[in-house]
Amino acid sequence: MSSPLVEAPLFTLGPVPIAGSVLTSFAITAVLATASHLLTRRLSLHPGRAQAALELVVSTIDGQIRDVLRRDPAPYTPLVGTLFLYLIVANDLEVVPLLHSPTARLETTMALALVVFFSVYVYGIRANGLRRYLKHFVEPTPLLAPIHLLSEATRTFALMMRLLGNIMSHGLVLAIVVSLAGLLVPVPIMAFGLFIGVVQAYIFAVLATVYVGAAVETAPAPAREGAT
């Protein structure tokens, strides 16, 4: 069995080796971007079918963000919505013949986790200013600063590993089942894989929202219920 942690490059572009998952990832990005551009090019007040479906998706994501953060979702929808839509497509790509989920590879999930890692700082600094944002690392006492820094690192690592572990281990289980009984038996497991893919996309998006929301809320805010 080949290692799931490394991927052989398909070809090299100059000094850069290009792996299959990178190509798939670029293709998903291109398809999603083109579709979004085409769908939003002619928005009207009396939406057709496509626009109505799109509005449903966007307003659902908006509603979820509003439920989690209890504030206006507009600044967060681009990040969270993009992550969610990309992950749904990427996680469920395994059912398309000849294609493999790019999120079953370490590099893709690491890149996504780093996006969240840096977004936390961007949103936090933009909302609070640099001084006030950095100050939350030494609150309540400077003794806790190492723990704050450690938690920033480990939660990013956990974000990466959670997505990778779920998607990749599902692929492994599927491979084992196929090698044992190839006909029809894997079908329910593949259907379950679709479910896992959507749930993991949801969890990744919700966790990104929670992390960004926590960074925005670093200012000593009045206590509210349901805060994480």
Binding site: S3, Q64, D67, V68, M161, S169, V199, I203, V206, V210
Partner: protein
């Protein structure tokens, strides 16, 4: 026993014992969430969203064990 055999043994132990704790934890979490939803069905949305995030956190522990097992099997620093 060679390093490879020990690694395989280690991977098996990591996954099998590492799954026990998260399994109990997820069971307890889901049971409590069910109870809460049964008592307050109108809070179902909030509870299930929190449940999903919590399950993801718990599941991460099992996945760390899986990662250790995979590292032992495929990227073992001690076996060459």
């Amino acid at each position: 026993m060679t390093v490879q055999s020990w690694s395989i043994l280690g991977a098996v132990i990591a996954v099998s014992f590492g799954a026990i704790g998260p399994a109990f934890a997820e069971g307890r979490a889901i049971a409590s969430a069910m109870e809460a939803i049964a008592r307050q069905p109108e809070a179902g949305g909030t509870i299930s969203r929190t449940l999903f995030v919590g399950l993801a956190m718990i599941e991460a522990i099992a996945i760390y064990c899986l990662v250790i097992a995979l590292v032992l099997l495929f990227a073992n620093p001690f076996a060459h």
